[in-house]
């Protein structure tokens, strides 16, 4: 809900316990700035999160925050939304939270087109428990439970979200704050279930993504690929080719809006 008075800050009093240089700081800055600029009212906004590094964000805001249990942010957000159409509900959770333990809930909130905005802070690992493979870890990722290399292909979150009939699906990354900002605006403005996969690698456990070791090339699908984001099958086809990290070209990160109903 927008507030009538002056624009109010979304920065909380609590200092984040994230590692120095964690990509979540970038996301938090962009999101808080945007909410303030778009005149959201912290007293009518609820951040809902699960458990994990990223999920702590709901404690670091001046808005209402629910730091819930692992995997269950979406059902809680659904309850808030269904009982109160007058508050804004944002879900901010990690890849393990949304797509491993909580995957079943994602399907149904998307199917039912619950009017919430879901941000996946996708760091491709379980960072809080010190690096185990997550549903979005790359093939061969060496997690502490899979020391010889994880032999599972990552879940393509945007393809999955489209299959579940989410009405807005996009991917962005903390590497490009401008693109991130534009994507978040679109997601917030969308009425219905909107999902943004935000590739935000963990500085501690996937250092390979950070300069200067290995540069990744970010490709905006809305500029480089021919598809109709309003058309389900066209969008699905495009998304299915845009897995990250892919086995063939792990250094290419496709971002953009894939689907908007």
């Amino acid at each position: 809900m927008r507030c009538s008075e002056n624009k109010r800050s979304f920065s909380g009093k609590l200092k984040p316990t994230w590692c120095k240089g964690c990509t979540y700081f970038i996301f938090q800055k962009v999101l808080n700035g945007l909410l303030q600029r778009l005149n959201y009212d912290p007293l009518s906004t609820v951040f809902v999160s699960g458990i994990g590094c990223s999920s702590r964000i709901s404690l670091y805001t001046s808005a209402f925050g629910m730091h819930t249990i692992h995997g269950r942010a979406i059902p809680v957000a659904t309850g808030i939304r269904l009982s109160r159409s007058d508050v804004s509900v944002l879900v901010i959770a990690g890849d393990g939270d949304l797509f491993s333990i909580g995957a079943g809930h994602f399907v149904h909130a998307a199917r039912k087109n619950i009017d919430i905005t879901v941000f996946c802070l996708n760091n491709m690992t379980y960072a809080m428990t010190k690096n185990q493979s997550s549903p979005t870890s790359g093939f061969d990722h060496a997690g502490s439970f899979t020391p010889a290399g994880n032999q599972t292909l990552p879940l393509n979150t945007v393809e999955f979200a489209i299959c579940c009939k989410s009405s807005f699906v996009a991917r962005s990354t903390t590497f490009t704050p401008d693109h991130l900002e534009k994507t978040i605006i679109r997601a917030l403005k969308h009425r219905g279930f909107s999902f943004v996969d935000i590739v935000a690698p963990c500085r501690t456990f996937n250092p390979e993504y950070f300069p200067s070791e290995k540069q990744i090339s970010i490709v905006d699908v809305n500029e480089t690929m021919q598809f109709d984001m309003k058309d389900y099958s066209s969008a699905l086809q495009c998304a299915s080719r845009c897995i990250f990290p892919s086995r063939e070209s792990p250094a290419v990160l496709p971002v953009g809006t894939f689907f908007e109903a």
Partner: protein, 612 residues
């Protein structure tokens, strides 16, 4: 003509799909019109069609009598039912059988002789099927109603009215056929066996016929429940069926969740949003909800969870009865949680106790589990329409202020919040202040301050903390805040005693109270001096009441339908009582005759435990 004594128990048996349960429910309706109290307990197989099916009707002149007495009159269509039920029949009971089905008189006599039950009186009748269209399954409900109604000498006009009421929305030919069938059944000769119920001359009361599930749902509506989410599971589904019809029209929400975890999660979300919320389930669902129950205790949000118990473990016996979930309700989920467990002991009480459950959860800011069971949930009872003015409603304290207490029906919605920013002087709001048992709860969109909540241990502001000292203080506060519950909600403990000089004390909870009540009466007329305690507040243990009972006697008997003696063990743990247990694991409620014998044996045999 025999004048029957009340309570009178009549059981109609048959196969699923034959209209047996429909007949029983219609009989209950006809009885209610004559000023009787009573209940109809339905038993059906887990399958939709075929399989054993029965309805037990308890006719009484007292309120909310549940079917816990032995059978006075049994109606059967198949000989197998006689074998199954004969053990529950009183001596001299009447057996009405349909000799047009597979029951022949010779066979029946031979069977009764073999079972040494020649005391049973037989009445033969012949039903003709009253199926609405030939070839479809046979449907006997109205005809059975006619037969049984004639046996009890209920006026035919009353029965016809009942049938019209029941079938009013069916097509005309079905309605006509059923009207014909009830009078056909009424005209079947029953020899000289007709009986008569004692006339009820009490002034008619305004009543409704509800089952326990519907009573819980009705109460949730009255108390202003604004959000209900659940996942279908036998035997709790009736609650969702009712609320799905009723809540939307009142501006409230009913939602079918993808599983029980989501159901309770959404209810917790709605509660954070300032709306009274509830979820309902049975044993397997309660297991799935445990992590979120711990969360609700930790973040201190009001929440009502109904567990309509059925026997476990695992999938167990979905269509049968047990009181086995007490431990799961009290101790389920990791760590030590502060929660309240209540158990209704009659259908009418399913209504009142649900109101209490909401009030307790709003007042103490914690989850409240209502332990209903399959018999309470599925038994239709004639209960007085709950007087709306008498409903006491407590609403949580929202920033800033006290709990609000009102009387009468409440509408779903959020209470008004006062602006307290001035009072805070720029300081953060203490959601978990150590200075009070519970602090007000800020509500998004209403309050002048926000709050952040977490399942991590937190300080007074709700911020995560590693401080061992703060952890101890907060955990103590969360545990101790429930200390006053017994004093604040005296109706959660029911007493039945005449004198302080007693031979022994009897404790029962849940539906077992119904059998215990009639046993206590009988034992008293035998000369025993008994105090009976019926706690509806199972946890925290009602220490004041227990201590008082302990001061009267050393001999305390606890009756319950589980194998561990779960409530008896809670009493040992928390009140240092060493009770004697009467336990039952038969899949149906303890019958009063059985309980009576058992009590007598215990008292005479110097108080040993007993497993039925």
């Amino acid at each position: 003509m025999v004048l029957l004594t009340l309570p009178y128990t009549l059981k109609i048996t048959g196969c699923a799909g034959e209209g047996v349960i429909c007949a029983g429910e219609m009989l209950l309706e006809a009885l209610s019109r004559l000023g009787f109290h009573g209940a109809a307990y339905r038993e059906f197989p887990s399958s939709i069609e075929g399989g054993y099916c029965a309805v037990t009707i308890q006719i009484s002149d007292k309120l909310s009598y549940l079917p816990v007495n032995n059978i006075d009159c049994l109606f059967v269509r198949y000989i197998a039912a006689v074998e199954k039920e004969i053990g529950h029949c009183r001596r001299g009971a009447v057996l009405i059988y349909d000799d047009s089905s597979q029951c022949s008189e010779d066979e029946l006599l031979a069977l009764l002789k073999k079972l040494k039950r020649s005391d049973i009186q037989l009445i033969a009748i012949s039903l003709i099927e009253s199926g609405n269209d030939p070839g479809s399954k046979k449907f006997y409900s109205s005809e059975i109603l006619g037969v049984v109604g004639r046996f009890l000498s209920i006026p035919l006009s009353n029965l016809e009215y009942t049938v019209r009421n029941r079938f009013q929305y069916k097509n005309l030919s079905t309605l006509q056929r059923n009207c014909d069938m009830v009078s056909r059944g009424y005209q079947i000769q029953q020899g000289s066996h007709y009986s008569k119920l004692p006339l009820q001359d009490k002034k008619p009361f305004e009543y409704e016929i509800l089952d326990g599930n519907e009573a819980v749902a009705r109460a949730a509506v009255s108390v202003g429940c604004g959000f209900f989410s659940s996942y279908p599971i036998t035997p709790s589904t009736g609650i969702g069926n009712f609320l799905a019809r009723v809540l939307p029209a009142r501006g409230a929400v009913s939602c079918q969740a993808e599983d029980e975890i989501a159901a309770i999660g959404a209810a917790i979300g709605a509660s954070f949003a300032g709306v009274k919320s509830m979820t309902a389930t049975s044993g397997p669902g309660l297991s799935l909800m445990q992590e979120f129950l711990g969360y609700a205790s930790m973040v201190e949000l009001p929440l009502v969870v109904v567990d309509v118990q059925r026997p476990g473990p695992s999938t167990g016996s979905p269509a049968q009865f047990a009181q086995e979930d007490l431990f799961a309700a009290v101790f389920g989920s990791h760590g030590e949680t502060s929660r309240i467990v209540l158990a209704p002991d009659s259908i009418g009480n399913c209504f009142n106790l649900t109101i209490d459950a909401f009030n307790c959860s709003e007042y103490f800011q914690c989850p409240v589990i209502i332990l209903s069971d399959s018999v309470l949930g599925l038994t239709k009872g004639i209960i007085p329409v709950p007087e709306r003015q008498d409903v006491r409603i407590i609403n949580r304290s929202v920033v800033s202020g006290e709990c609000k207490e009102t009387y009468g029906e409440s509408t779903a919605g959020v209470s008004e919040c006062k602006d307290i920013r001035g009072e805070l002087n720029g300081e953060e709001f203490k959601r978990y202040s150590l200075e009070t048992a519970v602090a007000p709860i800020p509500v998004p969109g209403y309050s002048s301050v926000s709050c952040r909540i977490t399942g991590l241990e937190h300080d007074e502001y709700g911020n995560p903390t590693d401080s061992a000292e703060m952890r101890t203080l907060q955990q103590k506060r969360r545990m101790n805040k429930l200390n006053l519950i017994e004093t604040m909600f005296p109706s959660l403990v029911e007493w039945d005693y005449c004198t302080d000089e007693i031979d022994f004390g009897l404790i029962a909870w849940g539906i077992t109270v119904a059998a215990a009540g009639s046993v206590v009466e009988r034992l008293r007329s035998d000369g025993f001096r008994i105090a009976a305690l019926y706690p509806r507040l199972l946890f925290p243990v009602c220490l004041n009441a227990i201590k008082r009972l302990q001061s009267m006697t050393d001999h305390i008997i606890v009756v319950e339908s589980n194998g561990h003696g779960q409530y008896a063990r809670l009493l040992k743990m928390y009140a240092d009582v060493k009770p004697h247990s009467i336990l039952s694991q038969t899949g149906s409620p303890i019958l009063s005759d059985t309980l009576y014998d058992s009590c007598v044996r215990i008292v005479k045999g110097c108080f040993e435990n007993e497993m039925l």
